[in-house]
């Protein structure tokens, strides 16, 4: 058997982050280092089952997902291994990574309040909890509780307020709804812009994508809970699989993903916020203003997700 003198390095990635959002990064990395990257995309649930079934024979080195809950779950199920990397520890703040270093956030997704600028003054708004107030009766639009972003938001509320109070808030949200919940954030914003309702909760990059296409829509973002715990953030992130065959190469890629150049690419392609606080967000994203993030570790979202789902069911939040 012959082997090339210096085999090109290779990393195999399972990704729940869409192809159009990761491929540009992988291409850039390959160009810079010569490392080839093979990847497959799927939803988080099937990807985790796949990793579990493949066990020690899995070809995957790196798992990339959106939502901290999914990373937390992958770690809980023993699919990821602890990573000792000074670079990652320095680049990624503590609340955006696993306390045991099995995964690291790479971009931040802020879930905030969006409102109709013709009908709502920013001074009317204050917190997520305030949307339960009766002054919003018939004026609120929400996305379905089945989306993990809402499950995480409610999970964080449970960790702050406890279950009974959170359930009360969610029930009142549901009571304030102007129409049935929508299946995605863009529909929520369009409904607010069209006057079907006045206020809602969305991830900021959906706002960015919509406004780029239709800049005249009367919509603006509001950063809630600034006098309290801060805006709810989630992450997309990655961890090295327990049975990675190219562990070192995967680690190098992961470290690179937290570096300046990649952070810009990583967050800019989807108008998200860089996880590395030393990197400034894209100009257009920066124009939405700066805000205080909720610093509770995002892994809480995973721990409390099933409580959140059940709570929302009980509260009648479809």
């Amino acid at each position: 058997m012959t082997s090339p003198l210096r085999a090109a390095e290779e990393v195999i990635v399972y990704s729940a982050r869409n192809e159009q959002l990761i491929k540009p990064l992988f291409d850039a990395y390959t160009k810079e280092t010569g490392t080839r990257i093979k990847f497959i995309t799927d939803k988080e649930g099937p990807l985790l089952e796949r990793l579990k079934a493949e066990g020690e024979h899995t070809p995957a080195d790196l798992l990339i997902t959106v939502d901290a809950g999914n990373l937390w779950r992958a770690a809980e199920e023993g699919l990821l291994k602890p990573i000792h990397s000074k670079v990652l520890q320095e680049n990624i703040p503590a609340h955006l990574r696993d306390p045991e270093n099995r995964w690291f956030g790479l971009s931040v997704r802020a879930r905030t309040i969006v409102y109709n600028t013709q009908k709502v003054k920013p001074s009317d708004l204050s917190t997520y909890e305030d949307l339960a107030d009766s002054k919003w009766k018939g004026r609120l639009c929400l996305r379905t509780s089945k989306k993990v972003y809402n499950q995480s938001l409610v999970a964080m509320m449970i960790s702050e307020h406890g279950e009974p109070k959170t359930e009360q808030i969610i029930k009142s949200w549901v009571g304030n709804l102007a129409t049935d919940v929508f299946s995605d954030d863009t529909q929520v914003m369009k409904a607010i812009a069209a006057g079907q309702c006045d206020v809602g909760i969305v991830n900021t990059y959906y706002y960015g994508r919509l406004l780029v296409k239709e800049p005249t829509l009367p919509l603006a973002l509001f950063w809630p809970n600034q006098n309290g715990s801060g805006v709810h953030v989630n992450i997309s992130g990655a961890g090295i699989t327990k049975h990675a065959k190219h562990e070192q190469a995967a680690l190098k890629l992961l470290e690179w993903l937290s570096s300046q150049k990649a952070q810009n690419l990583f967050s800019d392609t989807d108008m998200e916020y860089p996880a590395n606080p030393k990197i400034a967000p894209d100009k257009w994203v920066a124009s939405w203003g700066s805000f205080k993030q909720n610093l509770i570790n995002v892994s809480k979202a995973g721990e409390l997700q099933d409580e959140a789902v059940k709570l929302m069911d009980r509260a009648g939040y479809k």
Binding site: P46, K146, Q151, S183, D184, A194, D313
Partner: protein, 556 residues
């Protein structure tokens, strides 16, 4: 009531002692195919005995009644809707003549190439409060219209699913009417019956197995659907399965719910088959294209208006909207990779169509030649894969595949001391196997109905002439099953191109398809960017649909 018809088949010469004592080759083939399908179902069903947790209790306490009621109304609505549209359109195009019939005949199959969840999104996009229709109405009226049908509602889901799924019934019923309908009507008329009575009392009952076959596919598809109902945020049994899995982190609870689903489908299919086995359906003789019932004047135009409005709502409007979107993102998104997405989709659809047709042919022939309880049950089991939600089935297929791979890896390691990677997993073979398991029901429905049409006296004649077994299949059945096989191949081809969960889970690295592309764009709600691959899917489905209509109009 006629007695069930059972073929008594003498043992063929040349059958080995082993086969005679145990199972013959038809039974072995049928059981093997049933085993293939049963394995993933078994993996899922087995979870019934695994850990029990409070997920069930939670569903019972909060949402079970709603879920069951929603699922029931959806099945009822889509069942009635697709039967009505499918049967009426099939009758018009197959047995009557009216302006535009020639091209409507094949054009009415086109909605098949559109994934239902894409139509769902287009429908909501157009008709919801923020859509162009209501927006325009508001600007004309200066206020909200007093009443506008609510698109995000039970009626809305039923409408979308009916419009995208009716071709299953249409294609099979059309096949039935083409060959026997008019002849039957003529017979009825010669006995002094009117056309309508002839249709209701003769043609319709005679086409029942075809209609039931199409309807069974529609209902299984409806039960397994996740995409459409989640866009409407309409909670069904399937959404509960996904919620248990993704939201509550319990694949076992999800699998338990899924098992219940499979059990219900199995019972329904058995009942349907029992009721059918007491009847005989066969060819009512040759009829020529010339003797279609002419619909003249106003009635002809009425028929045209009806057919064209169904086509318009189910196909032209959605594709029009998709084209507008696709045009908008074309420059940004289109690149040469689309050629490979298209190539992969067409290749997978074609290969899966061949494979499932072969499988269906074996099942149908075995059922005819060895009509015993074991074979009948095995055939039923072999068509259950279609009823499971895609992702659940994908996991059920993946786990045993990996298990086999692991055994082989260890075996080779101990024997030869070399380490190898997966042999099956991540190959096209595994992928095609998964498609076979999922879509066997689709092919079987069409081929089985065609087999029903072959009169048993033909078997007897053939046997008198010394033709039986495989030669009987090749020389007698196969030519007569051509129409059914073509229908089956087209249905599977288009279904595989639209399929997502199995494609996502089992594709080899780099084997992205148009549906994978749609997934990438829709999973973050970028519907307009999903329009480009969706339009490409429609184009890829166009040619086979044209070919099919060409061939199936040539009468056997």
């Amino acid at each position: 009531m006629m007695k069930p018809y059972v073929l008594k088949v003498p043992f063929e010469r040349g059958v080995s002692f082993f086969q005679r004592a145990f199972l013959d080759r038809w039974q072995v083939a049928t059981l093997s195919i049933a085993g293939l399908v049963l394995t993933p179902l078994g993996v899922v069903l087995f979870s019934v005995f695994s850990e029990t947790n409070d997920v069930w209790l939670h569903f019972v306490q909060t949402s079970l009644v709603t879920l069951l009621a929603n699922t029931f109304w959806l099945l009822l609505g889509v069942g009635v809707g697709t039967t009505f549209l499918g049967v009426s359109l099939a009758w018009l195009t197959a047995a009557c003549d009216f302006p535009g019939r020639k091209w409507l005949d094949w054009a009415l199959m086109l909605p098949l190439s559109l994934p239902p969840y894409v139509v769902a999104f287009v429908g909501i996009g157009l008709l919801d409060f923020t859509g162009p229709v209501q927006t325009q109405l508001r600007s004309w009226l200066g206020a909200e219209p007093l009443w506008f049908p609510k698109i995000r509602s039970t009626g809305g889901v039923i409408a979308v699913m009916t419009l995208t799924l009716y071709p299953y019934v249409y294609m099979l019923a059309r096949n039935a009417f083409l060959t026997q309908g008019r002849r039957a009507i003529e017979a009825a008329q010669s006995l002094g019956q009117g056309r309508l009575r002839g249709f209701l009392h003769v043609a319709l009952p005679m086409a029942r197995p075809w209609i039931a076959g199409g309807l069974a596919l529609v209902l299984m598809e409806t039960l397994a659907d996740f995409g459409t109902v989640s866009i409407f945020n309409y909670d069904t049994f399937t959404t509960a399965i996904y919620k248990a899995w993704f939201g509550l982190f319990s694949l076992s609870a999800a699998a338990q719910l899924a098992s219940l689903l499979v059990l219900i489908v199995f019972i329904v299919l058995l009942i349907e088959q029992r009721s059918r086995s007491r009847r005989r359906f066969s060819h009512a003789g040759r009829s020529s294209v010339a003797d279609r019932i002419p619909l003249r004047g106003g009635r002809g135009w009425l028929a045209f208006a009806y057919a064209i409005s169904v086509l318009g709502i189910a196909f032209i409007i959605p594709v029009g909207q998709l084209s507008v979107w696709a045009f908008g993102v074309f420059q940004q998104d289109f690149d040469l990779r689309y050629l490979s997405f298209l190539g992969h989709s067409v290749f997978l659809g074609g290969a899966a169509a061949l494979l499932t047709c072969a499988g269906a042919l074996i099942l149908v022939s075995a059922n005819r030649l060895r009509n015993d309880l074991m074979t009948r049950t095995a055939v039923r089991v072999a068509t259950l894969g279609y009823a499971l939600p895609g992702s659940v089935l994908a996991v059920g297929i993946f786990i045993p595949l990996i298990w086999i791979d692991k055994q082989m890896i260890e075996w080779i390691q101990t024997l030869f001391g070399i380490e190898i990677g997966f042999i099956l997993n991540g190959t096209l073979a595994a992928m095609l196997l998964a498609y076979l398991i999922r879509f066997l029901a689709v092919a079987h429905g069409a081929v089985d109905s065609a087999m029903n049409r072959i009169t048993p006296s033909l078997d007897e004649t053939a046997r008198c002439l010394g033709v039986s077994g495989v030669p009987l299949l090749r020389r007698v059945y196969l030519p007569m099953l051509r129409g059914g096989l073509l229908t089956a191949a087209l249905l599977v081809f288009v279904d595989v191109m639209k399929e997502m969960p199995i494609t996502l889970m089992t594709r080899p690295f780099g084997w992205d398809t148009l549906s994978v592309r749609i997934f990438e764009m829709t999973s973050e709600g970028q519907w307009e960017r999903a329009a480009l691959p969706a339009v490409a899917l429609v184009l890829a489905g166009f040619i086979p649909i044209l070919l099919l209509s060409r061939y199936s109009n040539r009468e056997p």
